[in-house]
C-alpha cells in the first residue's frame, strides 16, 4: 500500500467531480461495506486500524464509536467537524476543496457504522466557497444514488446536509458545534452528559473531524490491519500536515506517521528547509494551541532521541520538553521571529474567540493579551512575566471547555522556553522595537522525578 491514502489522487485532473472520482475507484469502499460488512464489522475494522481523531485530541475513533449510546427508537447522528479555525491549520479545507467526494464517501461509511440516517457537515463560515464545492458534490452523490433512501439497494438511508458556522472558533468545540447546529449561541456545554449519550437534540451523537472521517475510506478499502501496519506504534496511518511559516515549501502534506521531524522540515519532498538559509528558531507542531518547542528540542527529544511526527514522540517529555501533534498545524519559525510578539498574537486570537461563559477564560484571556502587548511594546516589567505565568496557571484546567487550556498553554510554553527573550524585552525596551532577539540559549532540563 502506498504512503498516500487520502491525497493519492489529488493531482488527477477534475478529481473534484463525481465522474473522475468514481473512475479513480471512488465509492468502492461504500459498495464493499454495504455488501460485505455489518455496521458492527465496520466499527471493528476502524478499531483494528488504530485510527485516532485528527481534530486535535487524538482520541481512538473506533473506541469513540463504540461508546455511542443506542437506545431503542432514538435517532443517532454523525456530525463532521469542518469548522477548522485553529491558527496554522488548513488541511481540512484542502481536502474538501480538492477532493470533496472523499469526505462524502467517508460520511456514508461512518454513518452506516453508527446507524445514523441524518448526518451533517458543520463548516467554518469563512469557508463559503468550499461549502459550495461540497454542496455540489453532495448533489452529485444524491444524483448517483449514494445518498438518499435505500442506498445501492442495501436498505440503508442517509441524508447529508452541510451547514455553515458564523465565524466563531469556539464552534469547533464539539458541544458548541452542537449548540450552534441547533440554532443557538455557540457556547460549549458542560460534560457529562457527553455527546455520545446526549448530543444533537439530546440524541446520541458522534462528532469527528473531516480528516478522521475521510480516513475511514482507505481503512475500508484496504482493511483495518493494513492501515494499522502503516505508521509507528499507536500512531497508525497517515496524517495531513498543514506546513507554514519560514519554510521554502509551505502547504499541505500527507505523511506516514513516524516520519522524523528533521526530514519533514529539511527534505525537498516536504518543507524544503528554512527559507533564505536562516536558522530554525522554534516549532509549533500541532496548531496554535500546543506548546512551542525551542530549536534544540525540535529534531531531538530531551532524551536525545530523534523526534518523530507521531502522537507519542511529539509529546515526549510532557509539557516540560515536549508538545503535541494536535491538529497537525506545523508552524516553523526562523531566527528573525519574535516569540513575545508571536505569543501576543496568539493570545489576541484566544481573547477574541473566548465564548465568555467562564470567568477565568473570559477575563484571563484579555488580561494576558494586554500584558503581552505591553511587554512586546517595551513597556513591560520583570513582574509582568511572572504575572503572565500566574494568569495562565489560573486559567488552565479551571474552565468548561479546553479553549481555556488552549489559551494558557502557548503562554506557558513561551515563558518556559523563551524567558530570556521576554526578559530582554524588559531590559532593552528600545532595542526590542528595532530588532529581534535571535536564538535562545539551550537549557538543560533535569530529568523529571517520576
Amino acid at each position: 500500500m502506498s504512503k498516500k491514502l487520502l491525497l493519492e489522487h489529488i493531482d488527477v485532473e477534475g478529481i473534484r467531480s463525481y465522474e473522475v472520482y468514481r473512475k479513480q475507484g471512488g465509492y468502492q469502499a461504500v459498495e464493499k461495506a454495504l455488501k460485505t460488512l455489518s455496521p458492527d464489522d465496520l466499527v471493528e475494522e476502524v478499531k483494528k486500524s488504530g485510527l485516532r481523531g485528527r481534530g486535535g485530541a487524538g482520541f481512538p475513533t473506533g473506541m469513540k464509536w463504540s461508546f455511542l449510546a443506542k437506545p431503542d427508537g432514538v435517532p443517532r447522528h454523525l456530525l463532521c467537524n469542518a469548522d477548522e479555525s485553529e491558527p496554522g491549520t488548513f488541511k481540512d479545507r484542502y481536502l474538501m476543496e480538492k477532493i470533496p467526494h472523499l469526505l462524502i464517501e467517508g460520511m456514508i461509511l461512518s454513518s452506516y457504522a453508527l446507524g445514523a440516517n441524518q448526518s451533517y457537515i458543520y463548516i467554518r463560515g469563512e469557508y463559503m466557497f468550499v461549502m459550495r464545492i461540497v454542496e455540489q458534490a453532495i448533489a452529485e452523490a444524491y444524483a448517483n444514488g449514494w445518498l438518499g433512501k435505500n442506498i445501492m439497494g442495501s436498505g440503508f438511508d442517509l441524508d447529508l446536509a452541510i451547514t455553515p458556522g458564523a465565524g466563531a472558533y469556539i464552534c469547533g468545540e464539539e458541544t458548541a458545534l452542537i449548540e450552534s447546529l441547533e440554532g443557538k449561541r455557540g457556547n460549549p456545554r458542560m460534560k457529562p452528559p457527553f455527546p455520545a449519550v446526549k448530543g444533537l437534540w439530546q440524541r446520541p451523537t458522534v462528532v469527528n473531524n473531516v480528516e478522521t472521517i475521510a480516513a475511514v475510506v482507505p481503512i475500508v478499502n484496504h482493511g483495518g490491519d493494513a492501515y494499522a501496519a502503516i505508521g509507528i506504534g499507536r500512531s497508525t496511518g497517515t496524517k495531513l500536515i498543514s506546513a507554514s511559516g519560514n519554510i521554502n515549501k509551505p502547504g499541505v502534506y500527507e505523511i506516514e506517521l513516524g516520519l522524523p521531524v528533521e526530514e519533514f522540515i529539511y527534505s525537498e519532498e516536504y518543507c524544503g528547509g528554512i527559507k533564505n538559509g536562516k536558522r530554525l528558531k522554534a516549532l509549533i507542531p500541532g496548531g496554535s494551541s500546543v506548546p512551542v518547542l525551542p530549536h534544540y528540542l525540535v529534531c531531538k527529544t530531551a532524551a536525545g532521541e530523534d523526534r518523530l511526527m507521531s502522537y507519542e514522540s511529539l509529546a515526549d517529555g510532557g509539557f516540560a520538553t515536549g508538545s503535541m501533534l494536535g491538529s497537525g498545524g506545523f508552524i516553523v519559525y526562523d531566527e528573525d521571529q519574535c516569540m513575545v510578539r508571536n505569543t501576543w498574537n496568539f493570545s489576541r486570537f484566544y481573547h477574541h474567540e473566548s465564548c465568555g461563559q467562564c470567568s477565568p477564560c473570559r477575563e484571563g484571556t484579555g488580561w494576558m493579551e494586554k500584558v503581552l502587548h505591553r511587554l512586546e511594546e517595551g513597556h513591560g516589567t520583570m513582574e509582568d512575566i511572572d504575572l503572565l505565568w500566574d494568569i495562565q496557571r489560573k486559567i488552565e484546567g479551571n474552565t468548561i471547555c479546553p479553549l481555556g487550556d488552549a489559551a494558557a498553554w502557548p503562554v506557558a510554553a513561551a515563558i518556559r522556553h523563551f524567558r530570556e527573550e521576554f526578559e530582554w524585552h524588559v531590559r532593552q525596551p528600545k532595542l526590542c522595537l528595532e530588532r529581534n532577539y535571535g536564538l535562545v540559549t539551550e537549557k538543560k532540563f533535569e530529568a523529571q522525578p517520576a
Binding site: R185, M190, H351, E353, S359
Partner: protein, 322 residues
C-alpha cells in the same frame, strides 16, 4: 431496595453525609452547611441549566468513589458535578481550591468597577461578599476597565452591564418565564453583553425577578425609592393577597415608607418564591401589606455584619482603585 432510593455517602472537608443519588456536590455541602459550602455565583437551584460558569464553586475530588477511588485530576465545578458513593471532596481544606478560587475572584473583579460606595447593590452584593472572603487586598489589573452605558429595559428595570459578571441567571430566568426568548447574550468573551430579549420579555408578569437573581448590581429596581443604601433600610417579612403570586415578600423600609419590595431569600441567597411585578413595583403603600415581622438576614453579608463603613476600607480590593 430500588436503585433510586439508594443513598450515597460523601465526605466534604472531613464531614460525612448521606444524600440521594443525583445530588450535586454543592447541594450535598449545603445539606451539611457551614464552612464546607463552596461559594456559588452562577448556580441557582430553581433555574434549570444554571451553573458551571463562574467557577467559584470549584472543589477538589480527592477520592472519586468507593468503587473507583482515583482522585479527579482537575478541580470540578461542585454545582454541576454529582456525587458518587464514597466520594471525598476538599473545599477549603484544599490548597489548590483556595488558590484557584482566589484566581476566580480576581478574574471576576478584573473588569468590575471598584466603586461599591455608589452602587445600588452595595451591602447585598454576592460579589462584594465573595471578595471580602476570598479576595486579595490589591488589584494587579492596570488596564482600563470595560464600561457600558446604563440602559432602561422597560419601565421598572435598569441594566448596567458594567457591573455584570455574566452568570446567566437572568437569562435562565427569562428563559424559564417565556418561551419567546432566543438570545440572552450578545457577542463573545469579555465583549459579551446581556441582550435585548430581556427587554422584550419584560411584558412578562414575573420578569422583575431578574433583579433578585442578579448577584451584583447589574440589574436594579428603578422604582427603589429614596435611592437609599440597603443598610439604612429595615427588611420586614410581609405578605399580601395576590392572585398572581404567593404574595410573600420582603419590604425594605425607611421609617414607615416602603423603599422597595423583593422576594424572600433563603440562607443560600436564593429566592424561595418568585413574586410578581405588581407586588414588586406597584404595592408601595404599607396598607397594601400585612407585616409579619423583621427579617433575619443570615448570610455573611455586610448588611448583617452591620459595620460596613468601618470594614470596607480595610478590604481595599473594592475601593482602592478608581
Amino acid at each position: 431496595m430500588s436503585e433510586n432510593s439508594e443513598k450515597f455517602t460523601v465526605t466534604i472537608d472531613g464531614k460525612t453525609i448521606q444524600v440521594d443519588r443525583g445530588t450535586t456536590i454543592l447541594n450535598a455541602a449545603r445539606q451539611i452547611g457551614g464552612e464546607v459550602v463552596p461559594p456559588a455565583m452562577c448556580y441557582y437551584s430553581s433555574l434549570k441549566g444554571s451553573g458551571g460558569k463562574c467557577r467559584t464553586c470549584l472543589v477538589e475530588v480527592s477520592k472519586g468513589s468507593e468503587k473507583d477511588p482515583r482522585p479527579m485530576p482537575k478541580l470540578v465545578a461542585s454545582c454541576s458535578t454529582t456525587v458518587m458513593d464514597g466520594m471525598e471532596v476538599k473545599n477549603k481544606t484544599s490548597e489548590r481550591v483556595v488558590d484557584a478560587r482566589g484566581g476566580v475572584v480576581e478574574f471576576l473583579l478584573l473588569n468590575h468597577p471598584l466603586d461599591c460606595p455608589v452602587c445600588d447593590q452595595a451591602g447585598e452584593c454576592k460579589l462584594q461578599d465573595l471578595a471580602f472572603e476570598h479576595g486579595h487586598s490589591k488589584t494587579r489589573y492596570e488596564f482600563q476597565r470595560r464600561e457600558f452605558d446604563k440602559i432602561d429595559i422597560g419601565p421598572y428595570i435598569q441594566l448596567h452591564m458594567t457591573r455584570c459578571i455574566m452568570c446567566y441567571r437572568c437569562v435562565h430566568t427569562a428563559n424559564q418565564l417565556t418561551d419567546k426568548r432566543e438570545h440572552g447574550v450578545l457577542h463573545r468573551g469579555d465583549a459579551a453583553e446581556i441582550g435585548t430579549f430581556i427587554e422584550k420579555s419584560l411584558e412578562n408578569d414575573f420578569i422583575g425577578n431578574v433583579i433578585d437573581v442578579c448577584p451584583v448590581g447589574a440589574l436594579t429596581d428603578k422604582t427603589f425609592r429614596f435611592r437609599s443604601r440597603v443598610w439604612y433600610t429595615k427588611p420586614m417579612d410581609a405578605s399580601c393577597e395576590c392572585s398572581k403570586c404567593s404574595g410573600k415578600a420582603v419590604l425594605w423600609m425607611i421609617g414607615n415608607d416602603i423603599a422597595r419590595v423583593t422576594g424572600r431569600k433563603d440562607e443560600n441567597g436564593e429566592v424561595t418564591d418568585f413574586i410578581c411585578n405588581e407586588c414588586r413595583f406597584d404595592k408601595k403603600e404599607l396598607s397594601q401589606w400585612k407585616v409579619e415581622g423583621p427579617r433575619k438576614i443570615e448570610r455573611s453579608s455586610v448588611i448583617s455584619a452591620g459595620h460596613y463603613e468601618q470594614e470596607a476600607p480595610a478590604h481595599t480590593p473594592l475601593l482602592n482603585k478608581a
